[in-house]
Subunit: 132 residues, 2 copies
DNA sequence: GCCACGTATTCCCTGAGGAGAATATGTCGG
DNA sequence: CCGACATATTCTCCTCAGGGAATACGTGGC
């Protein structure tokens, strides 16, 4: 069942958040880190998971990997993504993600720049490596 | 995340089939066995799984346990069940389940009878215990 | 060629979950 | 009380998934 593979992808909050944010447009990993405030390895692994199963596609932009929903989305996936967007519309976590996304990139990141360098020093984790 | 719990329930074909069939109305375990053609333990465990997570409710009818979608379904669940019904509409397995369901119970099983006794000797599994 | 940066992969540990066989529980009819 | 039936639970085995730390890889700048 193809459908089951999709649901397996939706079984994790991190992945839900990734997909939800991707609904707004393509994004690079460091942006995801900043938006979700989760460690790099976590983001990266979940994106790999989604990629293996074809829920997202990745393209290299210089040093950055930009992830996006595939150009042609299967109907079942499309339906479920719509359903997801609908279900989390009022959820604080997901709203917060969108808020941070907009704060980071008022306009969609232009290909080739990504803007990652200019923003939030992506700390590796709660390790207070900063301001110490 | 409440939503994640729902998706976890949708990660297994057997459970998808159970929920799909339940969309047609309440059903007892032996009917499920006949409709899905799966062993008793499998059906039973997956129903228990769904029940723990509140996706289905169970009531005893004499010797039979009748499972049904809960009276009040949470909006997220409702949305996802609708999405599911939509996604599997053309899937052979799920269509087949519905076909067998209709063949077994042209009219919804009356509470108190269940009709289980009158129908398909529910074999425990592919074990050819019958006609030998 | 080396370094810094962004990202992916590996390793290790832990826990969940699916399958089946066997067994237990609950309910009814006698 | 016993036996038949419907269903649930337990046990064992196995695979997969998640988390984090450490490390590898790829790219661009000097």
């Amino acid at each position: 069942m193809e459908l089951v593979r999709i649901y397996e992808c939706l079984c994790d909050v991190t992945r839900l958040r990734l997909l939800h944010v991707l609904g707004q447009g393509p994004l690079c990993v460091c942006h995801f880190q900043a938006v979700l405030d989760e460690p790099q390895v976590k983001i990266s692994k979940h994106l790999a998971y989604l990629r293996e199963r074809g829920l997202v596609e990745a393209t290299r932009e210089g040093k950055w990997m930009v992830y996006a929903l595939p150009a042609k989305v299967a109907p079942e996936l499309r339906a479920n993504l719509a359903c997801l967007q609908d279900c989390v519309r009022e959820n604080p976590v997901f709203r917060h993600d969108l808020a941070r996304l907009r704060r980071l990139a008022p306009q969609p990141p232009a290909a080739g720049s990504c803007g990652c360098g200019s923003m939030a020093r992506s700390r590796t984790r709660g390790t207070k490596t900063l301001s110490s």
